[in-house]
Symmetry: C2
Subunit: 135 residues, 2 copies
Amino acid sequence: MLSKKTKYGLKALTYLAAQKDREPVQIAEIARHENISQKFLESILLTLRKNGFLGSKKGKGGGYYLIKDPSEIRMTSVMRVLEGPIAMVPCVSLNFYEPCEDCPDEAACSVHKLMLMVRDSALAVYRNHTLADFV
Amino acid sequence: MLSKKTKYGLKALTYLAAQKDREPVQIAEIARHENISQKFLESILLTLRKNGFLGSKKGKGGGYYLIKDPSEIRMTSVMRVLEGPIAMVPCVSLNFYEPCEDCPDEAACSVHKLMLMVRDSALAVYRNHTLADFV
DNA sequence: TATTAATCTATTAAAACGATAGGAATATTA
DNA sequence: TAATATTCCTATCGTTTTAATAGATTAATA
């Protein structure tokens, strides 16, 4: 299952990408518009900022804004930051690889073989789409 | 993340599919061979039996055995039984569809659009592979 | 200085996960 | 028929993750 964190984060990014300009938008406005718990959204936007997707401004007239062009924001990076590894098992993960300690032979493991194909197919989707495709 | 239930279940199915004949194999043997907690594996094999993948026999010489040819067992059905919906959000699920109550317009929702593509790509992999591909 | 809005830290409630325990039911063998 | 082997069933438990909430702090603006 996709976590609500990812779901909300993606919706927020899309909302920001749909703005005419890159002026700050308040958390409250995004939360209201997208039916998201404001406090929860706060923490999500924070991690998006810390990972280089968003800029922020405090005080009156403050808020969050996209720091890059939507067409520069690949779904791969969005998913990795919000949801974590794209692979469903660590032994087929590109960015978070870990061997299974219970599995003597990766190449012979059915789980490994299947999940490798699934990872590749998901990766193809994420790589081929940016935020711009969803505004 | 793939659940251990699915991981173990798929390994067990593969182990059974690799048998020369379709004689019953004991839980203990599968557990030992695949490094799986026997008690946990018990419950997994039970659900696989209840869902028409396996047959079982009690008492001495008993165990579990495949009830169909490995080439007849699609990964779609294995995944749905063990892991649940293939879609990452209910609003793009074929077999477990549910609308999001927070989302006024599915067709306009970025999460919906992205996850629809991801589901299709995963589905393509699962549909095109059977247990026979992993023995 | 007052107000606004992001930032940070901590806590909590509920759900899911992975595993374990113990006995009941059933089939085989002697 | 008795003993043994094995699946079957139910219940429980501890841990982790998830989603959300609360409250105090910091920074920018007017």
